[in-house]
């Protein structure tokens, strides 16, 4: 953050007491810094962060589904561009979201670093001397004992050391402290958050991810040219991707009796290009993990195969086209077959829009799917002829026909049919389209995130720090010995103060009871050769 001082008109005769402008800027900066690092600001920033995340879950996000964003644009043509300019479709990568969390982290660092220094000093320093009036502390009490003052404090010191207090003896009094780890946990927690953010950022900068549909018997290699969609961090060099190719050998989907999906597994072969690959099986919850990279199977579907034969005998044998599932429960799928190049003139191209049902049921001429398993595969096809426009330079989906082309009349419907495996339909010009069978396809995702382990480590540190911070107790105990009025015994004044728990009274009572017992026991037992009262103050 930079703050520049407003330009001041040159004053004719500035009063002598006025501080220099440099000092005023410094004062202003200091005030701003203090305000930013105040806990109150942190709470407000936490709220802002929570609030800023809300639109990211209520509006469609590009990072999750470009399709949903497009749909939103179509549904709200006037509102969507306004929202888009406010980055509301990219909330989590928007400048204002970044502003909130960066301010929060600056505030956090500004708050934690001084605390860390102070904690470091406190860990090296002796516990502070006892306050003058111990009985004013929240938990305090007096213990009379017949032991002389020095011995009484010895007993207290021993009992406290057993409880892992750090004890320092001063003239006629004693200070003890424990629970430094509580503050250490606090610092660890907050610094882990910073480490986590750095890990996330690193993953975003150097990570990439690509997705591709692969039909059984085919494969892909790890390169951005091959992926159907990919996203890469700004520092990824596309020449640096790990050289790996994956072939899908077999895909299996298993279902329970009530058709709940039980497992999806893909048998794959993988290895560097041109190398003898290894084989393995990956599935849901079970990706292939290689050094820094992961390969997932994220979905599946059917690729029906067709043989198209022209009247002149030229044919395209067993072309398989992936059809995208439109209903995961029944695996009813939709897709398109585009045949631009059967004849050289290219003016009479063929396009088929299709619906695939793994287990088909035809009612009133309409095909529906009733089962996700391929028990009785059927397709419903609508064939078009005309000009596909594949060479027009306008990108188009390989999974559907452009309805505008049909509306415009560049494609005209020439026939439709419901086919089972082995059946064929014949178009008016004599072309036949045969449904010859199906293969399965799997959707693969290839991910590379170098920040991932760093983030995991930070999360574990974060949780450890959190547990230490919330469960441990910072406790100080003070004791002062004074001669009792009268017969020469001693009155011990004890007090304790705790950070981190409101319920200290029962613990203090227990400590007092133990001390009373120890004092009584010491009095009846022969004197042990323990540290005498003449010993100088010690710090442990």
């Amino acid at each position: 953050m930079t703050i520049t001082a407003p330009p001041r008109p040159p004053a004719a005769a500035p009063p002598p007491a006025r501080p220099s402008s440099g000092r005023r800027v410094a004062g202003l900066l200091l005030r701003w810094w203090r305000r930013l690092t105040a806990m109150r600001t942190a709470i407000v920033l936490l709220f802002l962060l929570a609030l800023a995340a809300v639109p990211g879950s209520l509006l469609p996000q590009r990072s999750l589904s470009q399709n949903n964003v497009n749909q939103y644009f179509a549904d709200h043509p006037s509102l969507a561009p306004v929202l888009d300019r406010l980055y509301l479709f990219d909330v989590f990568s928007s400048p204002w979201f970044a502003a909130v969390y960066l301010l929060l982290f600056v505030s956090l660092i500004g708050c934690v670093l001084p605390r860390g220094l102070e904690h470091y000093r406190a860990m090296r320093a002796a516990p502070p001397p006892a306050p003058r009036n111990l009985l004013r502390l929240p938990d305090a009490g007096e213990l009379p004992t017949a032991l002389p003052a020095g011995q009484a404090l010895d007993v207290v010191e021993e009992e406290l050391r057993v409880r892992r207090f750090r004890v320092v003896r001063r003239e006629g009094e004693l200070s003890a402290e424990k629970g430094y780890l509580k503050e250490t946990g606090n610092l660890l927690f907050h610094l882990s958050l910073v480490a986590l953010l750095l890990g996330l950022a690193g993953g975003k900068l150097w990570g990439y991810e690509g997705s591709i549909l692969v039909t059984e018997g085919q494969g892909f290699c790890n390169s951005f040219q091959q992926y159907d969609t990919y996203s890469a961090g700004p520092l990824v060099d596309s020449g640096d991707l790990s050289p790996l190719c994956v072939d899908l050998e077999d895909f299996r989907a298993e279902y329970e009796d009530n058709l709940t999906a039980a497992s999806f597994t893909a048998d794959i072969g993988y290895g560097a290009p041109g190398e003898e690959g290894r084989t393995t099986t990956i599935g849901v919850n079970d990706p292939l993990r290689l050094d820094g990279d992961r390969v997932y199977t994220t979905g599946h579907g059917f690729s029906p195969t067709f043989t198209v034969t022209r009247p002149d005998g030229t044919s395209l044998e067993d072309v398989s086209v992936p059809f995208l599932p439109s209903d995961q429960a029944t695996m009813a799928s939709q897709g398109a077959l585009k045949v631009p190049d059967l004849r050289p003139d290219g003016e009479d191209q063929l396009a088929v829009e299709g619906f695939f049902a793994p287990t088909g049921l035809v009612q009133g001429g309409v095909l529906t799917s009733v089962d996700p398993r391929p028990l009785a595969p059927q397709v419903a096809l609508v064939a078009y002829q005309g000009y596909l426009g594949l060479d027009s330079g306008i990108p188009q989906s390989v999974y559907s026909l452009d309805s505008a082309q049909i509306d415009r009349g560049s494609l005209t419907e020439v026939g439709s049919a419901n086919l089972s495996v082995g059946e064929a339909m014949t178009l008016p010009d004599g072309t036949t389209i045969a449904f010859t069978g199906y293969r399965q396809f799997a959707a693969f995702q290839y991910s590379h995130d170098p920040g991932q382990l760093w983030v995991l480590g930070s999360s574990i540190a974060l949780l450890t720090g959190l547990l230490g911070m919330l469960l441990l107790r910072r406790e100080r105990v003070f004791a002062r010995a004074a001669a009792a009025p009268g017969d020469g015994g001693t009155v011990l004044t004890l007090a304790s103060i705790t950070r981190g728990s409101g319920e200290n009274a029962p613990r203090f009572a227990a400590l007092t009871d133990d001390l009373t017992n120890a004092l009584t026991a010491r009095r009846s037992a022969p004197r042990s050769p323990g540290p005498g009262p003449e010993d100088p103050p010690r710090v442990s």
Partner: protein, 319 residues
């Protein structure tokens, strides 16, 4: 017993536990009605006491014998209800041969169970808190009825994505965290009510309402804070475990899926609550409101995000 019998046993136990909780509510109301007013002086001491310990003094001393008997009956009924409630989950789990939190019906039922158990544990350790039984059981019964009416799903096998040992880790801790936050949120709501009540009493009014039977505001605030302190690391762990599972199941450890986003929002709000409670200017009522907002976020995350948003956490199984 066959899976079908176990499934229907589970469903019967669900109704039985609602019935027992309702009876316990009646008994808690009777306790409040028959208990003597003398309790109020004790509350005020509790609220102003600097040491601020839980009001552990047995209310029996101040309370009429009838009120005490009703209190015991209510606790026994609530405990029996909790046993039946636990039975719902056990029978479900046996019927489906898996952990009984595979869909929203089971998840919510388990969450409410954790809340009831958390309340019972508190009430056993600090008898002064038994008074709030009515205010805990009323939302419990309401939630159970809503769960039964709107979220019910037949016992069935899990979808492939949920077949992982992370189900036991991630979802169990989510249930425990949510249940604990539920109790914390209720304590903060009661704290807000009790603060207002105490202010009116201090102003010389004599509001004759059930609120005068609440434990002191300071005690409620401590219950809210302590449960939130207990719940926050559990929730943190839930989110981390969820991220580890997501890395294996969905190909990334964090993707701002709606459920992830709201889990993050809840985490941030509870972090704000824990900070607010130790920050001058935020202590007391403002902090309690933050906690109530946290509970609202948790409930929103369970209901709206599961049923309206489309995300990867679409396991509600609600038709």
């Amino acid at each position: 017993m066959s899976p079908d019998e176990l499934a229907s046993l589970s469903d019967s136990l669900f109704s039985i536990s609602i019935a027992l909780y309702s009876l316990a509510m009646v008994a808690f109301s009777a306790q409040l009605a028959f208990g003597r007013r003398a309790a109020r002086t004790r509350e005020l001491v509790g609220a102003g006491g600097p040491a601020g310990e839980l009001p552990t003094e047995a209310p029996a001393a101040a309370e009429g014998g009838r009120g005490r008997r009703w209190g015991t009956v209510a606790m026994v009924l609530a405990a029996l209800g909790a046993v039946a409630h636990g039975g719902v989950l056990v029978a479900r789990g046996l019927a489906a041969d898996r952990l009984p939190w595979g869909n929203m019906y089971e998840f919510s039922t388990a969450t409410v169970f954790v809340a009831v158990v958390a309340y019972l544990v508190f009430a056993l350790r600090a008898p002064g808190l038994r008074h709030i039984g009515l205010f805990v059981l009323a939302p419990v019964v309401l939630s159970m009825v809503l769960i039964g009416l709107f979220l019910y799903a037949e016992a069935g096998p899990l979808v492939a994505a949920l077949r992982s040992y992370w189900l036991a880790i991630h979802v169990s801790t989510a249930i425990i965290g949510f249940g604990v936050f539920f109790v914390s949120g209720i304590a903060s709501v009661l704290y807000l009510a009790a603060t207002r009540h105490e202010e009116r009493v201090a102003a010389g009014e004599r509001p004759g309402s059930l609120l005068s039977r609440l434990p002191g505001a300071a005690a409620l605030d401590r219950v809210a804070h302590r449960t939130a302190v207990f719940g926050f690391p559990i929730w943190t762990f839930t989110v981390i475990a969820g991220a580890i599972w997501a890395e294996a199941a969905w190909g990334r450890f964090w993707g701002w899926d709606p459920k992830e986003t709201w889990a993050f929002i809840a985490w941030v709000v509870y972090a704000a609550y824990l900070h607010a409670r130790t920050t001058a200017g935020w202590r007391g009522t403002p902090a309690a409101w933050v906690n109530v907002v946290g509970l609202g976020v948790m409930i929103f995350n369970l209901t709206f995000v599961n049923m309206v948003s489309t995300g990867l956490h679409s396991y509600a199984g609600v038709n």
